[in-house]
């Protein structure tokens, strides 16, 4: 029972990370129609900026600022120099160009920060564990991560449904040509959306830095899962990204926690290990396949 609660919390925490990464990606894909393989790079840039800020000042607040500003600025630069030239090109060109950005960013970060992964300590206010049930302690850092995910989800909801910019974003996701025809500077909107996506990645980077290794290529590891999230949730919708993150995060976590245990009861040991490890790796793709069978455009797609 305790294990189930603890694993559910782990699932929520993973969902929060996935949501921070996928909220921006789904908008970029949905509104700008750009396949952005370099999205994970902003996550890495954010984490490295945070590590540098912590090393220089020792303050986690400064680290959050550095990560958000660093990743957001880098996102702006990439959008101006590369992405803005791709809007009228095909998806294959997007893939090639953003893969190039990804490789370039890895090399750039290696040159600037070196190859050794920097260390980011857990900030004192988030260190240690608290009881969430009698006798079950849970790390505060992970609770803070879940809290950050909830805050960002609320903030995004407010931004998208209550502000003028959000209205344009929703309109852009539905039909960007009409929005442009109505005299909205769609290019500026694209730039804003792209920078917002990068900024959220940077925030994910700083929150993950105390728990995960800050290393070259850390973005690529989660990028594929992030794409699974937006396909499950429906491209272009932040609500879809939230639902997708929760489904994928919980499925992956519960799969990793329980499939090996179930399999060890069902199969003899020489098979159970290999079967369960394949099933664990495949669990989120099975989820994606089922969702696509029932709802080919994802669970909550943007209208089109």
């Amino acid at each position: 029972m305790y294990m189930l609660v603890e694993q559910a919390m782990n699932g929520l925490q993973y969902s929060a990370l996935l949501f921070l990464l996928s909220a921006g990606l789904t908008l970029i894909f949905g509104i700008m129609n750009v396949v952005n393989l370099a999205h994970g790079s902003f996550y890495m840039v954010g984490a490295f900026c945070a590590a540098m800020a912590v090393a220089a000042t020792g303050s986690f607040t400064v680290a959050i600022l550095a990560a958000v500003v660093g990743a957001g600025l880098y996102g702006l630069i990439v959008e101006r120099l590369v992405i803005s030239r791709l809007y009228h090109r095909e998806h294959l060109d997007h893939v090639l160009a953003t893969l190039g950005v990804l490789l370039f960013t890895n090399a750039l970060v290696t040159m600037v920060f070196g190859r050794s992964p920097p260390f980011v300590a857990i900030p004192p206010m988030f260190s240690g564990s608290v009881p969430i049930l009698p006798g079950l302690n849970y790390p505060i850092m992970r609770l803070a991560f879940i809290g950050a995910g909830v805050l960002v989800a609320l903030g995004m909801w407010f931004l998208i449904s209550k502000t003028k910019v959000g209205m344009l974003v929703r309109a852009g996701a539905d039909d960007s040509e009409t929005v442009e025809a109505l005299g909205v500077n769609i290019r500026r909107l694209f730039m804003l959306v792209f920078a917002l996506g990068a900024l959220l990645c940077g925030f994910a980077g700083v929150m993950a830095a105390p728990l995960l290794a800050v290393e070259i290529g850390m973005g690529e590891k989660v990028l594929i899962t992030t794409f699974v999230v937006i396909v499950v949730g429906g491209v272009g919708s932040v609500r879809g990204a939230l639902l997708g993150s929760l489904l994928v995060g919980i499925t992956d976590t519960i799969g990793r926690a329980y499939i090996p245990i179930w399999m060890s009861h069902l199969l003899p040991p020489q098979y159970s290990d290999s079967v369960s490890s394949s099933l664990v790796s495949a669990s989120i793709y099975i989820l994606m396949a089922i969702v696509l069978l029932v709802k080919p455009r994802g669970l909550i797609p943007a209208q089109r």
Binding site: M3, N10, Q13, F119, S129, L211, P260, S276, V280
Partner: protein, 392 residues
């Protein structure tokens, strides 16, 4: 007159021979390693350790001029093999450098098939240790089973009764757990296989918490190991559970990247920078002077490899192509001063050496460091050696 002529002829021959020796064509050594990707720091240390030996000898190894051709394999077996085949075609006959066993397994067969030599400075795949051992394949660092079976011996000696084993679900991970199980005498509560690119271990830690083990053996090198160490410490499990694992799961760089999280780890290794012998002290001082950082075990076994190659090149005076049998015989003798101290080759040309237990504790300056505890096992070979029948 005749005698004079003969004398001058002799003199000319001597002159000629010495002339050849001084303008000797350098022996080309193919050095393929992983310099890019997050694991690139390992390749850098291996390259720097090897080149230190070359530098100390004035561009030579064993007094024979060498030309080290360095290439990056990007951790891809395919590109490692491509580099090797290109070098083989241009006449390179001696190879080393590869860090990862999956790359080694792709490259080494092409090298030895054409009569070339492969002297491995890190990867010690079991493929060439047993029935398929090859007279032209040498492994200087270890056989891969050794880091995990020695960790199991250490766990036995420390009295750790119940353990959980954790490794990524791929060949090297399974091999590591296999090696551990072959020597561990206690109870194994669970074997947990993680995804290869996994960075969050909260799920596995929750399961470990519910199993109440006395100890954990993990084979998670690089970024995954850093993640696991940080999250293990953050979960508070490190207060009650002993970590008994190879030093490769907590190397110098990982130690620096995990803050205080590595404290208390028990690690099995064949070398640390505090190794107490003259060759090692000289090596550590020279490495620190040349590169401004402390050498890792990767650099140490690379340095040993360079000096082993030097000893054999000296025995044939650089004539690798003309005297391959003498070159091989000289390699087998392992006539060099290893920084590890006790070192010789077994019948399968993999090392027989001592393994040590160290613990991660604060040193005199308060920084976490490897504190030597004891010798786990002396003259440790590998379980495949008895299957090897050399035909030369």
């Amino acid at each position: 007159m005749l005698r004079k002529l003969a004398l001058s002829g002799f003199a000319a021959a001597v002159l000629c021979a010495s002339g050849v020796a001084s303008a000797q064509e350098p022996v080309k050594i193919g050095f393929i390693t992983t310099l890019s990707t997050p694991a690139g720091y390992i390749g850098e240390d291996e390259r720097d350790g090897f080149m230190l030996a070359v530098k100390q000898d004035g561009g030579k190894l064993g007094g024979v001029p060498v030309d080290v051709l360095i290439e990056d394999d990007g951790l891809k077996p395919g590109s490692g093999k491509q580099s090797a085949e290109k070098m083989l075609q241009s006449g390179v006959r001696l190879f080393t450098g590869i860090n990862f066993s999956n790359v080694l397994v792709a490259v080494a067969p092409s090298v030895v098939k054409d009569g070339g030599f492969y002297v491995s400075l890190n990867a010690g795949a079991s493929n060439f240790a047993g029935k398929a051992c090859n007279p032209n394949f040498f492994s200087v660092a270890m056989q891969n089973d050794s880091y995990s079976d020695t960790a199991a011996m250490a766990a036995n000696q420390l009295g750790v009764k119940k353990m959980v084993l954790i490794a990524p679900a791929y060949q090297a991970g399974r091999d590591a757990l296999h090696g551990f199980k072959s020597a561990y005498k206690g109870e194994i509560l669970a074997e947990i296989y993680t995804k290869l690119d996994q960075s969050d271990f909260s799920v596995e830690l929750a399961r470990i918490r519910s199993l109440h083990p006395d100890g954990i053996f993990e084979f998670l090198p690089g970024g995954a190991g850093i993640n696991f160490a940080k999250q293990f410490a953050n979960s508070g499990l490190n207060k009650t559970i002993k970590m008994v694992t190879p030093l490769y799961s907590m190397d110098d760089r990982m130690l620096a990247a995990t803050g205080q999280a590595g404290q208390g780890y028990y690690l099995s290794t064949q070398w640390t920078a505090s190794q107490d012998n003259a060759a090692s002290k000289q090596f550590v001082a020279a490495f620190e002077k040349a590169y401004n950082r402390r050498p890792t075990v990767y650099a140490a076994t690379s340095y040993d490899t360079a000096r082993l190659i030097g000893s054999a090149l000296k025995a044939v005076n650089g004539d690798l192509k003309g005297k391959p049998d003498q070159f091989r015989a000289a390699l087998r003798k392992a006539d060099f001063e290893s920084v590890r101290g006790n070192f010789k080759f077994g019948p399968n040309q993999y090392p027989i050496q001592d393994w040590y237990l160290v613990q991660v504790e604060p040193n005199a300056e308060g920084k976490l460091d490897y504190k030597p505890l004891n010798v786990i096992v002396k003259n440790h070979g590998d379980p495949y050696a008895s299957l090897c029948k050399m035909d030369k």
